[in-house]
Symmetry: C2
Subunit: 323 residues, 2 copies
C-alpha cells in the first residue's frame, strides 16, 4: 500500500488519539484504526487512566473482521504483560491482523523495537512511518521519555506590537471570543497550567475551561514561585523543576512575561501558541521578559512556523522548537 | 458582461497601473486594458511625469481594434483638456469604444462623474465598479484628493514578541533576505521614505533600493525632526505636516518606535506592513512607542487584516486602517 495511504490512516488514528488526551495520563494517548478492504473495521483510543489500550478497543470493535486486516496505530504496540492486561502485540497477532503500520516507534528504550519485533516474530508484516511525535499527539510521551519532563506550550495573547497589556496593566481584552475559546480548548488538552507568581497575585486567573461539555476538564493549576502556593494551586519553584511534576505530560504556560522568560531562558518551551489581535497598543507591557539573549544571531534557527490561521479578527501563529 | 469579468479585467488593469507607480507622480498611476471578443486589443499605463495617460496609450496600441471594444480603466477618464493633451473621455469616444468599465470614480469633486457623463453623452455605455482605491493602486490619489495628504504605510520588522532590536540596540538582522528584498520592493513603490530623528542619528540608514534594475528608484529621504536635515534628506517637523510634502502620494515610514508612535498617535497610518521573524528576543526594544491609548477598547476596530503570507522563514502581515 502506498505511503500516502499510511499517512492518511495514521492521521485518522492521531485524530482518535486526541480523544484520549489528557484523560489517559500518565499513559500516552494512542489512537488505532483497523482497515479492511479500504474500510474502517474497528477503532479505538487509550481509555481514561491508560487502560484498555487503543489496540485492544479497536480489536474488540472489529471482531472477526480483524483477520487479514491492517492495523494503523500511532505508537508501537506494547510487548510487556502487566497486571492490567495482556501485551497488545500478542493480542494483535492472535486476532490474525495481517499487517501493522506504526506511526512512531516507542521512544522508551526499554520497549523500543520490542513490540514491533514481537509482531514480526508472529508473522505480522510491520512497518514504521516514523512520523513526528507532535503529529501523532505523542509529544508529551516523547518529552517524558527522552527528556524526563513534560512537553511545554507557551501561550501569549498579544497585540500586533507584542504587548500583552497596556502600560496601565489593562489586559482585558486583547483577543476576541473565538481566540479565547481556542485557549480554553488548549487548556482542556493540557494536564497542567502554569502562571507566574506576579500574574497569580495580580489577576488571580481562574484558568478554567469554559466550553460546553468540557467544564470538568480544567487541568491542575500551578504557579511559578518559591513560596507556598494558595489553596487549589501547586507551586513550582523553578522551570528546571518541571521534571518533578508527577504525571504531567503536557504543560500549558499562560504567562506573564516573567514566567515566559524563565521557561525560554532555560530552553524549556517546545511550542509557542501566539494569539495576535489586530490592535496596536504602543508602549504597553511586552509578553516576554529578558531571556538573556547575547546576540541576535543566537535567536535565529530555533523556531519553526507550523501554522498560521485566522481566528475571527485575530490570528493564531503556532511555532515549534527545532531540536 | 458579468461582474466577475469586470473584476478580473480591472485587476489586470490595476496590475498594469503598478508599472506607472511611482514614476507618474504626482499624477495617479492608472492602468487601462481594451478588450475585444474576450481578447486584449490594447493596454497602457500612465507614463512618467503623468502623460500620456493610460487610456491614450491603450487606444494607440489597439488602433482600429478599439472600435466596438470594451475599455477597462482603473480611474474615471479625465474630461478636461489641458496643455499637455486632450481629454481622455473625448479620445475614447472618438475611437468608437462601445463601453467603458471604470474601477473607481475620480474622488476629486471637480472631476468626479464628469468624465463618465462625457462618455455617456457621446453614446458610450459606462459603468463604475466602485472598487476600493487600494485594490486599484489609487490609494495615494484618494488620500491626496480626499484627505489632502499622502497615503502612509508604516513598516515594522519585528520578532515574534514585538521587538525591533535587542536591548543593546542590535537590530541586524531581525528578518531574512526574502523579507528584506520585499522591503526594498516596497521602497521602490513609494515616493518618499521617512525615519525618525533617533533612527537617522543612530543607524544613518541608506534607505536605498538594492534590487537589480531598480537601483535608481530610491525615493526621497525624509527625517522626522524639527532641526535641519542633513544633506540628501528633507525634514518633516511633525506628522501633521505631511500634507505639505509636495508631490508625495505614497509615504513609507520605516521607524523607529518614536516615529511610528507619532504617526499612529495622530491616526496618520493607513497601512501596516509587519515583517515578523521566527525569533524571540525578550526584553528588547519594542517597535511602537506610547501612542496615548486611553483604554484597550479604543484600540479595537481600527485595523483589518488584508493578508498574511510567508516570506521564507519570516511572515508578512498586512493590515489596513478601517475608515
Amino acid at each position: 500500500m502506498p505511503a500516502a495511504d499510511d499517512a492518511r490512516w495514521l492521521a485518522a488514528a492521531a485524530a482518535l488519539a486526541e480523544r484520549a488526551r489528557p484523560l489517559s495520563r500518565p499513559n500516552p494517548g494512542v489512537g488505532a484504526i483497523i482497515v479492511k478492504d479500504g474500510k474502517v473495521a474497528g477503532r479505538g483510543w487509550t481509555q481514561p487512566g491508560g487502560r484498555p489500550h487503543a489496540e485492544a478497543i479497536a480489536l474488540d470493535t472489529a471482531g472477526d473482521a480483524a483477520r487479514g486486516a491492517t492495523l494503523y496505530v500511532t505508537l508501537e504496540p506494547c510487548a510487556h504483560r502487566s497486571e492490567r492486561g495482556p501485551a497488545c502485540a500478542d493480542l494483535v497477532a492472535a486476532a490474525g491482523v495481517a499487517q501493522v503500520v506504526i506511526g512512531m516507534a516507542d521512544p522508551d528504550a526499554r520497549t523500543a523495537g520490542i513490540g514491533a519485533a514481537r509482531l514480526a516474530d508472529s508473522g505480522v508484516a510491520v512497518r514504521c512511518a516514523d512520523l513526528p511525535a507532535a503529529d501523532l499527539g505523542l509529544a508529551g510521551h516523547e518529552c517524558a521519555t527522552v527528556l524526563g519532563r513534560p512537553h511545554v506550550t507557551l501561550k501569549l495573547a498579544m497585540s500586533l506590537d507584542g504587548c500583552i497589556a497596556a502600560a496601565s496593566g489593562e489586559s482585558k481584552w486583547i483577543t476576541g471570543d473565538i481566540a479565547r475559546a481556542h485557549v480554553h480548548r488548549e487548556r482542556a488538552r493540557a494536564d497542567a497550567i502554569l502562571v507566574g507568581g506576579g500574574t497569580l497575585r495580580t489577576d488571580y486567573p481562574a484558568l478554567d475551561v469554559r466550553l460546553p461539555g468540557l467544564e470538568t476538564r480544567a487541568p491542575e493549576r500551578w504557579v511559578l514561585t518559591r513560596q507556598a502556593a494558595p489553596e487549589g494551586w501547586q507551586a513550582l519553584p523553578s522551570p528546571q523543576a518541571i521534571g518533578g511534576m508527577e504525571g504531567v505530560r503536557f504543560l500549558f504556560v499562560e504567562g506573564g512575561a516573567g514566567a515566559a522568560a524563565a521557561f525560554l531562558q532555560h530552553d524549556l518551551v517546545d511550542r509557542l501558541l501566539l494569539y495576535r489581535a489586530p490592535i496596536l497598543i504602543g508602549g504597553g507591557r511586552t509578553g516576554v521578559g529578558d531571556i538573556g539573549l547575547a546576540s541576535l544571531a543566537d535567536a535565529h534557527g530555533r523556531w519553526r512556523r507550523e501554522d498560521i490561521r485566522p481566528l475571527g479578527p485575530d490570528t493564531l501563529e503556532i511555532y515549534t522548537r527545532t531540536r
